[in-house]
Amino acid sequence: MKIERREILAAGGLAAFAAGFSQTLGRMVDGFVAAEEPRIAEGRHIHGRSAAPEYTVDPVSGEFTPNPNQQVSYTACLGCTTLCGVRVRVDKTTGNIIRVGGNPYSPLSTDPHLPMKTSVKESLIAMSRFQDKGLAGRSTACGRGNAAMDQMNSPFRVLTPLKRVGPRNGGQWQPIPFEQLVKELVEGGDLFGEGHVDGLAALRDLNTPIDAQAPELGPRVNQVAVLSSVNDGREAFSRRFWNKAYGTLNHVGHGSYCGGAYRSGSGALFGDLKGMPHAKPDLENAEFVLFIGTAPGNAGNPFKITGAKLAKGRATGTLDYVVVDPVLNNSHNLASAEHGRWVPIRPGTDGALVMGMMRWMFEHDRVNTAYLAYPNQKAAEAGGEPSHTNASWLVIAQEGHPRQGRFLRGSDVGMAIADADRYKDADPYLVIGPDGQPVSAESVTEAVALQANGLQVLIADKAVLLKTAFELLRDSALAYELPEYSDVCGIPVEVISGLADEFTRHGRKASAVAHGGMMAGNGFYNAYAVVTLNALIGNLNWKGGFVINGGGFRDAGAGPRYDLDGFPGQIKPSGTPLGRNVPYERSAEFARRKAEGKPYPARDAWFPNAPGLGTEWFTGALRGYPYGLKALILWSCNPLYGITGIRPLIEKELADPKKLPLIVSVDPLINESNAFADYIVPDSLMYESWGWAAPWNGVPTKAGTARWPVVEPKAQKAADGQPVGMETFYIALAKAMNLPGFGPEGLADMDGKRLPLERPEDWYLRGGANIAFAGKAPVGDASDEDLTLSGVDRLRPALEATLKPDEWRKVAFVLTRGGRYQPVGEAQDADHPEWQTHRFSKPLWLWNDTVGTSRNTLTGKRFAGCAGWQPPAFFDGTPMRKVYTEDEWPLQLVSYKSALQNSYSIATRITGLHPDNPVVVHPADAAGLGLRTGDEARIQTPGGTARCTVIVHEGVTRGVMAVEHGYGHRELGARAHRIGGQSQPDRPDLRAGINLNDLGLADPTRGGEAVWVDAVSGTSVRQGLPARLLRA
């Protein structure tokens, strides 16, 4: 229907909003403006305090009229680790954020996302009512993403450098000038009247070994360690400072107490235990997806796009899915129950379910053996498969052979391999050739035998039994009968077989995925099992199957425009990482114990198959194993809240400066961890910060999200006028210590011309140039209109001053669009439309001999090298239920992610909406105690006791109590700190609920001195804590 513009004016709409625009607070009327303010809407005042619209679009002509008092900027959210592209609507007169939505260019917020060439104006029109564009092109922010803006004006923000007054964790601080902060931290001294504290300059000892008897530990500089959270697009800058310029080896994130067990299990299958590649279901094109211990649409990463595609798939009927989890959550939806099902499971028994499924698949010929028989990528692709596995590779299976569990290599059977190359990449893996004898796996051009059938080869004149990886996995799956698996996980045999049947009925358009539910005392093997399911149907790299991320655009690389990677004087850190995630067998301790005739047990656990482990840092450092720390930097992380069981183990020692002389935090807020800091340096927050982020996973096209200060940072300005934040702090430290890679000649362009690194813009804008020019052709130029509408014009002076004339409008182009994004249509390969464009081409390791030949450092026993069922256990292999029996601890605690709250969003409007986290208890478990919904109760574990409220319903496995993460805070507003003479607001409501991590266990097989972690991945155990429930 046609509507004349005049008619709309007559209705009062546009005229009214013109009035709205003239107001200063971005709100309509009432309470903010004078009584004589023009009335709106038929002369009646109906809009209350609603915000004035950011622009208008004529619904007939599409004519666009901006609101000159507002700005809509595309940047990144930090409300969770997904780091979605968002649009932030700013009141230009106050700098306040009015509301946040999605960035329509970003595939994390929009399905399908807009092409980059769309102008900013067109992108805004694309979200309006004009031609119903805003419905089809809807670009969203989730509940938390909408609420996170509340942190910008939070009264709990740290805005000046703080120095503790009184003891650690005393809640009293003194604001200090930035220059004093830098001087004290660099030079040290008697900073607190408690005796001398070494400064960072003195601690940067790159030569003296930590322990002359154990030179493998590395130089003393490693005793300065940096714990961060997630790569929010700024980690490269932090690593440049701490690893490359300062020289410490120790800089790790939060993965080991997040979902690291899943990542490690995935890393085992993908053959990289440090980088831990992983894949996701292609929800857009899948027919069936099995989610185990992960809750699509309830939480997870990428949260929104997973939820949106799940919703679309089940509503249109293209997608069926099953969620296996001890807790029912928002991934289920009764309105489309015919397409989604919840299967309750006992905590930490996912491996039993999955190995049962595998057994059924092996026994019913539902394993894709044709696919598995391709031993290399070339042969696979020639056979029409976009990926391959090592299923056919031969493994030494001779009991007692020194290389048992290792793959048979060319040098083992007399191939000519240089000594230096033996058992390295040049020494080929072997498969059974046409003549029945081993040949190089790389050399064959077609499918090979999957079974060795008892084949033996002569190695050093001895007959040695061989098995294929396929046979070893099958043996593992057949280790238990289906009813035994069923007894363990509590899932009926017919459901296990039904799942296996369904999973194998969709060709490549099925997949299985897991995540946080794997954080159990056997998490690594549970996760390895789940991801191995995918290999058995050959779904990797297939449209509709298991697909890998498109990846990001690299800002901090060596070019194409600027070298943000290396620099003269760069340090290459060396030594043993604090988390002991390297082989114990290379340590001086091992050599000593071996010489004494007893190489095992080591003093404590080592994790050669794990990445950097924050879980092990605190107990390790405070007990001096492998070494103690002199300084700890906590950058926007909260390990005391997040590591299950850590607090009671360390809080006393952490408060003692003699045990750890210096704790410095860089953070915009005071949390449970940096409450123990000696100094807190304010960091930029949310929409005032920089960063070049990339989707963590789940986006099949290449994508890079730009985060830039869409509003002026609120933190105190240093003497040079720059706001204090992580970057300015490190730049100042580097200057004070004269470190390389920073300062007037810190950077270089690709011609080798030295350039300054003295401001955050020097780094991020040049990183932006690397992104804008990446690939075959650079992006286009931003127009003046793009700059004005997006608010990037505020950065124009810096863009022009920092970048070259042919660069700045291209970097501005990326900033105005909130990132750089590959077109949505390029997810699949143009030449192979059923294959993904971005493919993982290395083998999938059904058998991982790195895992399968490493040893438990307390028992000396080898770990299993493939997926298999083993019960949750402590480090030395003692099953948890042997120590904490079901008689004594009849229930189990699990943690689940909140659909709303995260670990740091407590002081936002989410808390008003959802103020507490009552513990979900099954009616059968509550009945015995006479507990009803709303009752107070007490939870006990071997690690602690907490009072809680219970909610009683059937949405939890019997015998399980479920705790929603994000509550039970002691900080982040839950305690009013005194800063200078001022007290923060008292908000007892922010203390509501409980934190499961306060109830975690110490590992009794490690002397009760370390938290319970998975023995392979080193990840904290929060799923399946033995517990009992008591009346309050």
Binding site: G13, S50, A51, D132, R144, G145, A311, L913
Partner: protein, 250 residues
């Protein structure tokens, strides 16, 4: 608006048994279609919303964006997603999640209007039910009269308050905040009278499944649902919700 953000335990009356992946009681077919009649006699536009419950993931993006857009005070809601954990007695799984986005229904026969003693509440020509803040005396008769608990007294303004379909945005050619940010794409907004528009087309296509809340009251809501389970169309029986959003933090 009162909210049931949290799961509350609900006992369904009946459910049918289905195959392995289809063995959960599903929404029963609507008895009668509530598809609206054209309102040609009134304004050209007749705004309405369609909510496809199957697409709701309960993330409360709508709830919070509405709060930010409209400065809704803490403890009150113009829209919210009630979330239920439903006990299933005759299905393979013991319980399921049900989500129900709620807001003012912008009824064609709104019970809130006749009770207003000062004629502050009225229906615009385009069908949007609004409150004139200048006239409203905050007596809360309308709050009591609304069968959907969609109204509240805004304790910042002391006026009756409720969803306006973001009339200020709609009049500017934009979408309501909740619709713009609906992650699952469950909320569709548009003009019933625009036959070519997305809303009218979707309403038409979904006609056999369309439902409204409390149809027996003949309020003629302008908020339509796909996937509305009849057990939730009226007052939900069962234990009271536990995580009541708080009224106001101290």
């Amino acid at each position: 608006m009162k909210s049931d953000v949290s799961p509350s335990a609900v006992q369904p009356r009946s459910a049918s048994r289905r195959a392995f992946l289809r063995n959960i009681p599903v929404v029963t077919a609507a008895a009668a279609s509530p598809f609206p009649t054209m309102a040609a006699a009134r304004g050209k536009h007749q705004w309405a919303m369609l909510i496809d419950v199957r697409k709701c993931i309960g993330c409360q993006a709508c709830t919070v964006s509405c709060i930010q857009e409209n400065a809704v005070p803490e403890g009150s809601f113009r829209t919210v997603v009630s979330t239920y954990s439903v006990k299933l007695t005759d299905a393979a799984q013991p319980a399921g999640t049900y989500m129900l986005p709620r807001l003012c229904n912008h009824c064609d026969n709104p019970p809130c209007i006749p009770v207003c003693p000062v004629a502050a509440t009225f229906k615009r020509d385009d069908g949007i039910v609004v409150v004139d803040g200048d006239r409203c005396v905050g007596c809360a008769y309308c709050v009591q009269a609304c069968p959907y608990d969609a109204r509240f007294i805004n304790h910042d303004t002391n006026k009756a308050d409720k969803c306006t379909f973001c009339a200020h945005r709609v009049d500017a050619g934009l979408l309501p905040a909740c619709v713009e940010t609906c992650v699952g794409g469950a909320r569709i907004f548009g003009d019933i009278n625009d036959a070519e528009g997305e809303l009218a087309r979707r309403l038409k296509a979904a006609q056999p499944q369309l439902k409204v809340l409390k149809p027996e009251l003949d309020t003629a809501p302008r908020v339509f649902y796909i996937g509305l389970d009849e057990r939730f169309a009226g007052k939900v029986e069962g234990q009271g919700t536990l995580w009541k959003p708080r009224a106001h933090h101290g």
